[in-house]
Amino acid sequence: MSDIEVTGRILHLQRLSTEDGPGIRTTVFFKGCPLRCVWCHNPESLSTQPQTQWFAVRCLGCQTCIESCPDHCLTMTDSGLIIDRERCQGCGKCAEACPAGALETLGKVIAVDELLYELLKDRAYYEKSGGGVTLSGGEPTLQAEFAEGLLYSLKKEGIHTALDTCGLTSQHTLEGLLPYTDLVLFDLKLLDPVLHQQHTGASNQRILDNLLFIRQTMEKQGYPQDLWVRTPLIPEVTTTQENLTAIGEYLALNLNSHVSRWELCAFNNLCRDQYTRLGMVWDFANTPLLTQDTLYQCEQIAKNSGVNPEIVIASGATRALDPL
């Protein structure tokens, strides 16, 4: 039913991943996402196309890359290497040529069987920890056939699977993936459809429908076995009392016996340089991390929203009290 030769475009693998589901996992980051969240932490995962980035600190200035580019997209200037992103097709020739690893092409095409071979290298750790593999991104459901082939192959090997999704996909796609998914990590960012549209570029109607669809398959088909909801804590956007309460009430009302964990993931700004390297502007570049207090308050709001308070877990970096 699934073709192991089907290929997909991924960013990279994260091994010994301890934050994307139970146990020790390998997270596969898919490239491409249907949402455009203004705070996105993985800007490299937005486009479905390969992209090239340049690390100034690694560059020797040897200019090997400039000749290697078949489309003449690269120019060395006093302020560094300029990539003509209109013309760049992400062919990867420059990254291949660069001796110093200063140029990287993000998004490589890989076949299911090749990827599976890599993922199984950590089988011992999955088995000892109750972990497995998490498909994340980007949005795995955007490459439905590839995701399905991968999930199917993993289940055949007896590996625990998790699907980390933004929920914006078709029911048909979910029908294909869920039979091979043990755990869904479902992102619920904003409950208000207008705010959702405003901050992510899409309404949350279909997302909420899909969440209820997952509930339905859990009840009727018995899969996925587990569902975790994740809410990124974006200062002034998702951290409001109204939003967290609304999400909590929604979960309590509709998914009380289905969601076993509601994770609140603190905003972080590690991706700031990534935006620069990709020639993108980030509205949150100067936004500080949450304070310890804010994180605590968000956790309390969530715990008091009507869900079982024990399922609420807040984590992530907070602002240093005493910067060193």
């Binding site: 693998l13 994260q14 091994r15 040897c62 001796p99 011992a124 920890s129 972080n268």
Partner: protein
């Protein structure tokens, strides 16, 4: 979630806790260092002859930092030596008899017997430099072999200066049969020696064998007679002791000493007293303050005594205090050169290693109540360097133990112990049995009783000296010689005279590498040069081994090692049932990555010619930055779980280990065996070895033991671990490994250090994940692991404010060191290590 911002609280250094007033006082007193009224610094003792000397420099040939001081040490100890009135027959005796008598005389009759207030065990002074007891002729013979133009010292210096490594017959580094002393007492050793002596023919009795056995008979009474002296001192102190409770303690201590170590102990307190006196005399006998004198499976052989004390109703907290007194005593080993340098002359741990838990017969787990009590003592006492704990884990280790291990790692910066992995280790020992034809001594019915020595060097117990630190070989030298056809890439320049070596072919003539057409040709040259460097280290070691076996005998240690009494041979002469010399390969990953770079860049991708490549190395990459960048970034590296790269690693491993098994020492018949422990050579030798093909310039650190090169393990910790397991041999595809399905080309084991960000163990959920990581390591990894839980920012702060971090212990490789006392280079290296965090 990697980057929880640093809060000041993150910089809290582990502190000792739960100490009674007694232990608090002893610990505080210990750390007063030079301000103490009492200490255990070296005293020196002489026969009084004009040619006499004490210092055996060969034990320090593996410590290049001491080379400039060898003569100074010899002269200084000689100068401060106190004369010992000799027995009238002294010079008529054989050398071992002289040495045994002299040491006993010093220990029992000359050294003061001192007991610290509130201490529960006796045995204070043991750091001694005693006369080598040579007559004039012996001294001349010995000195010629050491100092002659082709002597051991010159050979060792040449070897080191030319980047091969170092070697020397070194003391310590074994597990004496302490278990027997606890089970049977010294009287049983003595009785066995008497019987062995009586069984000799009269000719043998007056010959070499008889002399050795008589020496051992003298040595075997030393612990008894010393205990009697300490018993007298306890009684004397008790008489004037105003405090009744302390008086009772002193009287009980005297009573203990009337029983042990001659008789087996009747209580745990007596067992610890017996163990300590027996152990400290090993250090006295060798004039060597403890490095690698290891206890073996202490929670096993002390367990019956522990149970007896429980039956007698002794308070567990009291016995914990006894253990803690033992802990403090072990640390007084460092007093040897207490006035030297900062921090009482302490930098790195010596490695009086004790082993906890592990597998028993039929694969069952041997963890017991004493295991956990000792874990508590370690936790409560740390940070402290000695004794150094090693915890053995295996597939059947109980959750409770694993959780305690993880908890203790989480609570301190470097794990307070090393972790050994039984299955992989035992597979190596079984291979060793096969390779060296000793399956009657190491087999599936006893291999589980192995124990690591010093850091992680696996040996058998009580019958084995494996010379685990004696021969340290830079594998990278073979790559260099393959590139040059046997010459040094850059001639050695004597720093004293400024004179450069004339070009000379030291290695094999493997031809001009620039003319090689294929990778296979280069690999063949590498093979030939590997054979050459192993032959060279074997030849070098033979020189000091021969001198030691003729002139530096240790009859007391020989009493504690099975085989010596039976053969009538000193342990230094190959008396042990199991005699090995371990070649510890250094620069492994640098060598593997260098071969990968040559193969990839010169032969596979052809981005440069071999001639260009060699020129770049001669120029230390200056002017060849693009090629250097390619070597660093575009060639595969070991440590990424990349099967092709790791296959190169396995080939390199197989080549050098197979070659190692071909040799034995001529003078003592000890079999060479392979291991990987780099101590700190990978730092210092990086300034000796020229630029390497992996992109490393001279002066950038080499790789450490079995670890991937710094920063090479870009696929994270599990990939790093998997690579390590693979190059050791991985698992047998048909399930028939040397132990279960495990294979291991390094019977000694290999040092593997990993640094993690503290956030990986931040809460119970993550600690459970780390526990599973260790269980995954049991399946996929190597023989031993050291964990550092450090934050680079904290270490930088410690560099700026060392006064706040005096007790910060970090793992270097198989040993802990106080961060603020190690050199800046090593500090920077530890900061530079890939810190494995999590996302």
């Amino acid at each position: 979630m990697t980057d929880c911002d640093i809060k000041p609280s993150d910089y809290t250094i582990k502190e000792p806790y739960n100490m009674t007033a007694r232990i608090q006082w002893l610990r505080d007193y210990y750390f007063k260092g030079v301000e103490r009224a009492w200490n255990n610094e070296y005293t020196s003792w002489t026969t009084g002859t004009p040619w006499d000397f004490q210092y055996n420099e060969m034990s320090f040939y593996i410590v290049p930092e001491t080379y400039s001081f060898l003569q100074t040490f010899r002269s200084s100890f000689r100068q401060i030596a106190n004369p010992v009135a000799l027995h009238p027959e002294f010079w008529k005796w054989t050398l071992p008899e002289r040495r045994a008598w002299f040491n006993k005389e010093v220990m029992v009759r000359y050294l003061p017997k001192e007991i610290l207030p509130c201490d529960l065990i006796t045995g204070g002074r043991f750091n001694v430099q005693t006369s080598c007891c040579l007559n004039k002729q012996e001294t001349e013979q010995r000195d010629k072999l050491i100092y002659g133009p082709k002597g051991a010292r010159a050979a060792m210096l040449w070897f080191h200066n030319h980047g091969y490594g170092n070697a020397g017959a070194t003391s310590g580094h074994l597990v004496p049969d302490y278990g027997r002393i606890i089970r049977e007492g010294w009287k049983s050793v003595h009785a066995e020696l008497e019987a062995a002596y009586a069984a000799l023919t009269p000719a043998e009795q007056s010959g070499k064998k008889g002399g050795q056995l008589k020496a051992m008979l003298t040595a075997a009474t030393m612990p008894r007679d010393l205990a009697a002296e300490y018993a007298k001192e306890c009684t004397r102190l008790a008489k004037s002791e105003p405090d009744a409770a302390r008086r009772d303690e002193l009287l009980q201590m005297a009573e203990n000493l009337n029983i042990v170590p001659w008789e087996p102990p009747q209580t745990f307190w007596q067992a610890i007293q017996s163990l300590w006196l027996t152990h400290m005399l090993v250090m006295s006998d060798e004039n060597y303050p403890g490095p690698g004198d290891s206890f073996g499976r202490i929670d096993q052989f002390l367990y019956p005594a522990w149970q007896k004390s429980r039956e007698l109703g002794v308070d567990i907290e009291f016995d914990k205090d006894v253990l803690k007194c033992f802990w403090i005593h072990c640390n007084t080993a460092y007093d040897g050169m207490i006035r030297t340098g900062g921090n009482q002359g302490i930098t790195a741990g010596y490695g009086q290693l004790l082993t906890l838990s592990g597998m028993g017969a039929n694969g069952e787990d041997m963890t017991n109540e004493l295991t956990y009590v000792m874990m508590d003592v370690i936790d409560e006492m740390s940070p402290i360097l000695e004794p150094k704990p090693n915890v053995r884990l295996h597939r059947g280790s109980p959750d409770k133990l694993l959780e305690r291990v993880v908890e203790m790692i989480a609570a301190s910066q470097g794990s307070p112990f090393l972790i050994n992995f039984d299955e992989r280790s035992m597979a190596g020992m079984m291979l060793q049995a096969r390779k060296s034809g000793v399956s009657h001594l190491i087999n599936e019915n006893n291999v589980f009783d192995y124990a690591p020595v010093g850091c992680l060097e696996n040996t058998m117990v009580g019958n084995d000296r494996s010379g685990t630190v004696d021969a340290n070989l830079n594998l990278l030298k073979a790559v260099e010689l393959a590139l040059t056809g046997g010459y040094d890439l850059v001639p050695f320049v004597d720093p004293m005279t400024g004179k450069a070596d004339q070009p000379q072919r030291w290695g094999e003539n493997t031809g001009d590498a620039a003319q090689f057409q294929t990778w296979e040709q280069f690999w063949q040259a590498y093979e030939a040069q590997t054979r050459h460097i192993i032959k060279r280290i074997v030849d070098l070691y033979e020189q000091s081994e021969a001198v030691r076996s003729a002139f530096h005998l240790t009859p007391y240690v020989s009493c504690l090692v099975k085989g010596c009494a039976q053969k009538g041979l000193d342990i230094t002469q190959g008396g042990a049932e199991l005699g090995y010399v371990t070649i510890e390969a250094v620069t492994y990953a640098t060598a593997v990555d260098s071969l990968l770079a040559v193969k990839t860049l010169v032969y596979d991708q052809k981005v440069c010619s071999m001639a260009e490549f060699i020129q770049a190395l001669k120029d230390n990459w200056v002017g060849h930055e693009v090629l250097q960048a390619r070597a660093l970034n575009k060639a595969p590296k070991y440590g990424r779980d990349d099967d092709a790269a790791d296959e190169m690693g396995r080939k390199v491993m197989e080549l050098w280990t197979e070659e190692t098994w071909k040799y034995r020492t001529q003078s003592t018949g000890r079999q060479y065996r392979p291991g990987m422990l780099s101590w700190n050579y990978w730092v210092a030798d990086s300034f000796i070895l020229p630029a390497s093909p992996d992109g490393r310039p001279r002066g950038k650190f080499l790789s450490n033991a079995l670890c991937p090169s710094n920063g090479a393990d870009t696929n994270g910790p599990t990939a790093n671990v998997n690579s390590v397991g693979k190059v050791l041999g991985g698992k047998a595809p048909d399930g028939n490994g040397d132990w279960e399905d495990y294979l291991n080309l390094l019977p000694n084991g290999g040092s593997h250090t990993m640094t993690f960000n503290p956030s990986l163990l931040r809460d119970p959920e993550h600690r459970a994940k780390f526990k599973a990581f260790l269980q995954g390591y049991i399946e996929n990894g190597g023989t031993a692991l050291q964990v550092n839980l450090l934050n680079a920012d904290m270490l930088r702060d410690a560099q700026k404010h060392p006064e706040n971090y005096r007790h910060l212990l970090v793992r270097v490789t198989g040993y802990n060191a106080y961060f603020t006392t190690i050199g800046r280079e090593l500090q920077d290296e530890i900061i530079a290590r890939e810190s494995h965090s999590i996302r």
